[in-house]
């Protein structure tokens, strides 16, 4: 970018230092780093809550916390992990990687980028501050179903405003990503040459813009029901509490794909690199991602089969849910086909990616089981559901995020991470995540309800195994922090290419990339993007 376009940026071409670099940053890499660090902190805050949950469930009976606090743990763990850990991690990766993957000088709207990050710490200060309030933190579940959630004490408006702020932050981030990809691509970077990670993020951004306002609308209605005398969800005033469930899940199911589509993109970058083959079926991957996104708006009621829907409605939502398995199957098939006859090596990013393919598929299949209406009547609100969504979100989304961290850490820091420690981290994570969540399938099938601090003695053994897995998984994540810090501070110098089999614009830059990425307009050719 040697032309005037870059000259326009020259007035802020210097690299700011100190606190101002982070507070007022408009640089996509710095903002990406802040997102990633923030999400790691939230991962450990949410993880600590999970440890309390598993400690309480280690044995039947009430051990450590009172039921109200336990319910707060369940509620806030979910909110923190979804809105504080996984989503910001995805946005952080998007910030760091999308501009350098498409050959753009920065994000399209850098000041808005800064704002969308800094809203988040305020939102979480509102949410986590509720632990110190009269009546405690929200305890009605992350789904905030009325009338239960309306019993929340002084924490209620803080919860609602935290959700609003997080929604605003997400929408601004999504707008930025769409504007960047559509307006800022380098010459030659056609839409069908975009790296899959960029494609999945563009589609995710559209999902965010379409679904976040719906959540905001739903929680605004909760607020007016509680404080302004409306009756959207109050049966006594002519409203309907089930309406909230419809609206919430109209947001909630696309939200699931907001969490997982960027993970699909990450895996689609990593597998070709370590299989040393181009991605099998690139176009079908793009269309499958778009199909999943569109279908995600027509399946919301599979979360509420047991509320008493008309039979035709239940059938429609069951079949629509089954339909999503088709494009998802296309993706899994393509990943496996990419590896077929590839010259594979098994560095840590590839190990996490392989674990993702296997374990996410397990989570996908248990999702299919839950999507079958008559069967769901038995599984609904049991630990089977807990096992299902943790396979999708932990061994799915989080494993993909771990894979991406190891994949791009050398590019970000300029140093190779400690491969031996990273492999130990992988094996501890993979083993203990399964020890943690696999027994929960059996607990659910045996009838153990979710969101309870105490349980019948017949569930004791599997709960003990699950808790042990949970503690071991939690502790092993500290190793990840050590590996990251060690890598940031030093280590073997990374080349620009980093991985022998990697393709794309980001690998043409030095490691770490310069503060302003491209000083010349990059030339994008088919050979650069593929094999």
């Amino acid at each position: 970018m040697s032309t005037k376009a870059h000259a326009d940026h020259d007035h802020h071409d210097h690299k700011p230092t100190g606190i101002k670099r982070w507070l007022f940053s408009t640089n996509h890499k710095d903002i990406g780093t802040m997102y990633l660090v923030f999400s790691l902190i939230m991962f450990f805050i949410g993880g600590s809550m999970a440890m309390i949950i598993r400690a309480e469930l280690f044995q039947p009976g009430l051990q450590f916390v009172d039921p109200q606090f336990y319910n707060s743990m369940v509620t806030v763990h979910a909110l923190v992990m979804i809105f504080g850990a996984i989503m910001p991690a995805g946005v952080g990766l998007a910030n760091w990687m999308i501009p350098i993957m498409i050959g753009a000088p920065d994000m399209a709207l850098p000041r808005m980028n800064n704002m969308s990050f800094w809203i988040m710490p305020f939102a979480f200060a509102l949410l986590l501050g509720t632990f110190f309030m009269e009546g405690g933190a929200p305890a009605g579940g992350w789904t905030m179903y009325p009338p239960l959630v309306l019993q929340t004490g002084k924490a209620f408006p803080f919860l609602i405003f935290a959700v609003h702020f997080l929604g605003i932050s997400s929408i601004m981030g999504a707008i930025n990503i769409i504007a960047t990809v559509f307006n800022m691509r380098a010459p030659g970077m056609t839409l069908m040459r975009l790296p899959l990670f960029v494609w999945t993020w563009v589609i995710t951004a559209f999902l965010l813009i379409a679904s976040m306002p719906v959540l905001a609308g739903a929680v605004t209605m909760l607020l007016t029901d509680k404080y302004f005398g409306t009756s959207f969800f109050n049966a006594a005033g002519g409203g309907d509490p089930v309406l909230f469930q419809h609206i919430f899940w109209f947001f909630g199911h696309p939200e699931v794909y907001i969490l997982i589509l960027p993970a699909f993109g990450i895996i689609s970058q990593i597998i070709p690199t370590f299989a040393r083959k181009p991605l099998f079926g690139y176009a079908s991957m793009v269309y499958a991602t778009a199909s999943i996104a569109i279908l995600s708006f027509f399946v919301w009621a599979h979360h509420m089969f047991t509320v008493g829907l008309p039979i035709n409605g239940e059938l429609f939502f069951m079949y629509a849910t089954m339909l999503i398995a088709v494009p998802t199957g296309v993706k899994v098939f393509n990943w496996v086909a990419t590896m077929w006859k590839g010259a594979m090596t098994f560095e840590t990013p590839m190990l996490f990616a392989l674990a993702f393919v296997i374990l996410f598929t397990i989570g996908g299949f248990s999702g299919l089981m839950l999507g079958i209406t008559p069967v769901d009547f038995q599984y609904h609100d049991t630990y089977f559901v807990v096992a299902h969504f943790h396979y999708v979100l932990l061994t799915g989304a989080v494993f993909a995020l771990m894979a991406s961290a190891y994949y791009w850490l050398p590019k970000w820091t300029g140093h190779m991470y400690d491969e031996k420690l990273a492999k130990i981290h992988f094996w501890l994570s993979a083993i203990f995540a399964n020890v943690l969540f696999f027994p929960q399938h059996f607990l659910g099938l045996a009838g153990m309800p979710r969101r309870i601090p105490d349980y019948s003695v017949q569930f004791a053994d599997f709960n003990m195994v699950s808790s042990l897995g949970g503690f071991a998984y939690g502790i092993s994540q500290l190793l990840f922090v050590y590996i990251v810090i060690k890598c940031v501070l030093g280590g073997k110098k990374a080349t620009g290419q980093v991985w022998e089999g990697a393709r794309g614009l980001e690998w043409t830059l030095s490691s770490p990339p310069p503060y302003h990425s491209f000083t010349k307009s990059p030339k994008v050719t088919k050979a650069l993007m593929d094999y």
Binding site: A174, I178, A179, N183, M184, P187, V214, G217, I247
Partner: protein, 41 residues
């Protein structure tokens, strides 16, 4: 359009970025308001 980022037309790109952001923001806001209004009786 895309080429213009690198060819002397940064102002046009900036304008288009802002325009697209405004449109997407309006879509999001109208969904928010529309959802609430559509559930009023």
């Amino acid at each position: 359009m895309v080429k213009k980022v690198f060819e002397n037309n940064n102002e046009i790109v900036k304008k288009r970025n802002k325009c697209l952001a405004l449109i997407l923001g309006l879509i999001a806001f109208s969904l928010y308001v529309g959802f609430i209004l559509s559930n009023m009786k």
